[in-house]
């Protein structure tokens, strides 16, 4: 006899079947055998795979961040990428939040976070969660290895559902790679992005897109919606991890960073080639030889057969990076290395983002931009009302330093201090203000001598004498000829080493960037002194050693690029004994130093 019976669980009535009397045993046996049969139908392979999937998702989910803007309205998602709390998200997510936000994580805890850096053109922001040095974090993997059809999953805070801070996981496949989605104006451009059919909804913005192994392949931020309303229609876009990796070093500088342009536009010709349709004669590309009508064959090593492909390559690099470009003219191929210009002037960028570092963020998000799945207009559930002390908590206040042109100047200053603290480990030059004397040979042949003093630089090269008067404007003192201003550069090098970044002149931390002649990334301090247009000092990221310089005396002349190597100790100071000098991407000289000494300071002339 089996009777239907109802009972309640948590106040809900459920219908079930309740066995009675002697039939109980039979029913149990039937159920047990059914369970056994069911279990044997699922191969352990599948069950193990399921366990593996659970493990991967749990590991990945722990790195996701649910961002809530101040005031309890608006927000989005993010993903931690380092144990000390750096997390990536979208610019359009943090814009309404300002420089401080609350972040919930899968551990059920709520963390304070501050804004670090902004990339408005690429719709990326870097924030830093506070309070731990052992945050679970995701690994940025190579997005060029992602293929259409790969399994992937998104983690985030769709519809701001994560009121308990536990993020939502949606899975799908990669629908397309190397997609181009045009900007709104010149901001929020998605280049070389990953398209997925994993559900990307309002609130998912800034959250991670993982591959099936749980490695980070992108940051979700956009979808195609149009007439479908602002909910997922199977077409979401993620900023690629490779683009994020290129910008990460810049974002950590606390700056508002810009994207790059070639200084030339391209178009598809009637016969399907991608050709230069316009070019600025002030651009580095023009200086390297690129002209109107040239066919673009490859850009940064990637073959170019469409304008979108060109824009995809351009969009993943920050302003000022050097990228190889292969072009064809009259059937002949030329390969050049081009320094990319900024898309915006500093003023333009600032005016476009309209004060992202404002102390008081908006209480609710502005009307979202089209295609941006950020905080929903109509929230199905109220966002948590987080009580926010005014002003900012003290532990947060000390990490926030507004300054024009910066997302958060605090981080720029911290990096300057960090780099200089490491640099002086290789020698404290502050007491070495005398005459620096170098002598030796050029590998191309001939001897040289250089004497660096505060007020002048004297040198003798095989080509003849060279001199720089440092009391005058330096921007036209290009000696020795063909170097782009080697002596002026060495003067600035000595100035930095002896005075330090605080007294050098105006100085800021650019971030990590590559240099054309060496592999890897370098910490870069950018200094402005005298009327020299710009001087970049390159430091090894691991040791802090000052290993290079890139100096542009003025707009009309190519830079003088210097790499220092073969360091040897001189009275506790690490002195380079090999100096490679390049100008306009051509080798100017390799200097082998055989003798170095510092003479006591020369008395100042009356």
């Amino acid at each position: 006899m089996i009777q239907a019976h109802c009972w309640t669980v948590n106040g809900r009535r459920r219908r079930a079947v309740r066995p009675r009397g002697a039939s109980l045993l039979a029913v149990c046996l039937v159920i047990a055998s059914s369970i056994t049969a069911f279990a044997t139908e699922i191969p352990p392979l599948v069950r193990n795979a399921e366990q593996e999937r659970i493990r991967v998702i749990a590991k990945a989910k722990a790195t996701a961040v649910c961002i809530f803007a101040r005031g309890g309205h608006g927000g989005g998602s993010g993903v931690l990428i380092s144990p000390d709390g750096f997390a990536l998200t979208n610019y359009h997510v943090v814009k309404p939040a300002g420089n401080y936000m609350k972040c919930g994580m899968d551990d059920g805890k709520l963390y304070d976070a501050v804004l670090v850096g902004l990339d408005p053109t690429g719709d990326v922001a870097l924030i830093k969660l506070l309070g731990r040095n052992d945050f679970p974090h995701a690994i940025l993997t190579d997005s060029n290895r992602v293929c259409s059809g790969d399994w992937c999953f998104a983690v985030g805070n769709p519809f701001l559902l994560a009121t308990d801070f536990h993020p939502t996981v949606t899975y799908g496949i990669v629908s397309g790679v190397h997609r181009y989605q045009p900007p709104a104006g010149t901001l929020l451009e998605y280049t070389d992005c990953i398209q997925t059919d994993a559900s990307i909804n309002p609130g998912n913005s800034g959250g991670p897109l993982f591959n099936a192994a749980g490695d980070l392949i992108g940051v979700n931020g956009r979808g195609s919606f149009e007439k479908r309303g602002r909910v997922n229609v199977g077409v979401g876009y993620a900023i690629s991890s490779n683009q994020l990796r290129n910008f990460l070093g810049y974002l950590k500088s606390g700056r508002i960073v810009d994207h790059a342009t070639l200084g030339a536009t391209v178009a598809t010709s009637d016969d399907g080639r991608v050709v230069v349709s316009n070019i600025l004669d002030s651009s580095n590309a023009y200086r390297r030889g690129l002209r109107y009508g040239d066919e673009i064959v490859a850009f940064s090593g990637r073959p170019i057969s469409s304008v979108n492909e060109f824009k995809n390559v351009l969009g993943i690099y920050p302003r000022g990076w050097n990228v190889s470009l292969k072009y064809r003219r009259d059937g002949q191929d030329f390969t050049i290395v081009v320094r990319l210009m900024g898309v915006h002037s500093r003023r333009e960028l600032l005016s476009k983002i309209q004060g992202p570092t404002a102390e008081k963020p908006e209480p609710s998000p502005k009307k979202p931009k089209p295609n941006q799945p950020d905080a929903p207009k109509r929230q199905p559930r109220p966002a948590p009302q987080i009580p926010l002390p005014q002003p900012l908590p003290p532990e947060v206040t000390k990490l926030v330093q507004p300054r024009e042109g910066y997302a958060n100047y605090f981080f720029n200053q911290e990096n300057q201090k960090r780099i200089w603290a490491a640099t002086v480990q290789h020698g404290d030059f502050s007491k070495s203000k005398g005459q620096w004397l170098f002598s030796g040979v050029l590998t191309a042949g001939g001897n040289f001598q250089i004497a660096l003093e505060d007020s002048r630089i004297l040198a003798q090269f095989p080509s003849g004498p060279a001199v720089v008067d440092t009391t005058l404007d330096l921007d036209q003192q290009t000696d020795p000829e063909g170097s782009g201003g080697l002596l002026a550069a060495l003067h600035l090098w000595r100035r930095l080493l002896t005075l330090g970044p605080d007294e050098f002149g105006e100085m800021f931390y650019l971030g990590t960037a590559p240099t054309p002649s060496q592999p890897g990334l370098f910490d870069v301090l950018v200094g402005t002194y005298n009327v020299v247009q710009e001087t970049r000092f390159l430091f090894e990221t691991t040791s802090g050693k000052l290993v290079g310089m890139e100096m542009a005396l003025n707009d009309d002349i190519d830079r003088c690029d210097i790499m220092f190597s073969k360091f040897k100790a001189y009275k506790g100071l690490q002195i380079p004994h090999k100096i490679d000098v390049r100008h306009g991407n051509q080798q100017f000289a390799t200097i082998e130093v055989s003798n170095f000494e510092i003479k006591t300071p020369t008395a100042k002339k009356p």
């Binding site: 191969p43 352990p44 392979l45 599948v46 193990n48 795979a49 399921e50 366990q51 593996e52 999937r53 991967v56 290895r145 293929c147 259409s148 059809g149 790969d150 399994w151 899975y171 799908g172 496949i173 990669v174 629908s175 397309g176 190397h178 997609r179 989605q181 398209q195 059919d197 591959n211 099936a212 192994a213 749980g214 195609s224 149009e226 007439k227 479908r228 997922n232 229609v233 199977g234 077409v235 598809t268 399907g272 057969s305 469409s306 979108n308």
Partner: protein, 354 residues
């Protein structure tokens, strides 16, 4: 082994992936010995997709105003350059461009259409290219994994590959079961999908099984008039097969040439039949009825203003020029059957001048 593992991990458990009786013990043993820590890179649909993509095309034609996108999707179904797509306003121009997966562009020729199924066959000057075969395979069922290839939202241009969505067949049903809710002339069986295939530009895309075999054609955008929900659906390729074969083989009169036809001394024309078409101002002005003369045979047979004439005696006559031309081959004493679209219905009306 790793392939199977990955299929089990994230993906398809279709009937065909179940282990055979022989393989099962070996798999059980191996699975105990080896649990990988992560997934190899090749464990995805990538291989299937890369094999399908060369068979997909992007189609550009009329449109571009008032939410009518000037593009749709298509797929290559022969080694003679035949492209299957949906029959839509995008094809209402002489200048329909087909762009292949590798970026090559072709002017296409509309060689036939079946308005009841809502499909059209284009042809481009192309041979020796991968194409979808329509070999008989097991009838797809609800629960089967699918991939949907299309150029939704026009995301892909030039040599960029089509977008791919994944999902399962949620149901197989008759579209006509929701008569009145969906504005469509097609009433036959459809696969209802849980993938978001109903997007601008997706119509004419390919629905494949997880091996990349063609199982359906993504239908035109369709929204339930009552609840405004967009329907994700595809028309089973089996339903279209005969019509496709006929269109390609030229067995339907719709696309046969006029070379062997002779015009009668006194032919039919709209005036004789008692209706007026809208002014012919475009290359391909759709053959909409503007007016029906009182007391005419057209009025008697209930032809109405705003009816869209698609066929005359089963030959395509969907533009004003085509209709007038077609009528000019019919003797005035003979009957003509006009296939018209009125709202979402296709209706045949036979007219004969008394």
């Amino acid at each position: 082994m790793s392939r199977r593992f990955a299929l089990a991990l994230f993906g398809p458990h279709a009937r065909s992936s179940e282990p055979t009786a022989v393989a099962l013990p070996a798999m059980l043993l191996l699975s105990y010995l080896w649990v990988p820590s992560d997934l190899p890179a090749d464990d995805s649909y990538a291989q299937t997709i890369s094999a399908v993509q060369p068979k997909m095309v992007k189609i550009y034609g009329a449109g571009g105003i008032r939410g009518l996108e000037a593009y749709q999707s298509g797929l290559i179904i022969s080694d003679q350059g035949h492209v299957l797509t949906v029959w839509s306003y995008v094809l209402d121009t002489e200048d329909v461009v087909v762009v292949l997966n590798d970026g090559r562009r072709f002017q296409s020729q509309l060689i036939g259409a079946d308005p009841r199924l809502g499909i059209a066959i284009l042809r481009i000057e192309l041979t020796e290219t991968p194409y979808f075969t329509r070999q008989a395979s097991a009838e797809p069922e609800p629960g089967d994994r699918i991939l949907a290839f299309s150029n939704l939202y026009g995301v892909a241009t030039g040599n960029e590959p089509a977008s791919v969505l994944h999902g399962t067949i949620a149901a197989r049903t008759q579209l006509a079961a929701r008569r009145g809710a969906f504005k469509t002339t097609y009433k036959g069986p459809v696969f209802i999908l849980d993938a978001m295939t109903n997007n601008p530009g997706a119509a004419g895309g390919a629905l494949t099984d997880r091996q990349g075999n063609l199982i359906g054609l993504l239908g035109k955008e369709l929204r339930n008039a009552e609840n405004e929900i967009w329907l994700n659906y595809a028309i089973p390729i089996a339903v279209l097969a005969n019509s496709i074969d006929d269109l390609i083989a030229g067995r339907t009169p719709s696309q046969a040439g006029n070379a062997d036809r002779q015009k009668p001394a006194q032919a039919l024309n709209p005036t004789l039949l008692g209706f007026v078409l809208i002014p012919d101002v475009l290359d391909k002005t759709p053959a909409f009825v503007d007016n029906v003369r009182k007391g005419s045979v057209a009025e008697k047979m209930q032809l109405q203003p705003d009816d869209l004439i698609l066929f005359a005696n089963e030959r395509i006559a969907s533009t004003c020029k085509q209709l007038v031309e077609e009528l000019s081959f019919i003797d005035r004493i003979d009957p003509v059957t006009l296939t018209i679209q009125r709202g979402q219905n296709l209706i045949d009306i036979t007219l004969q001048v008394p």
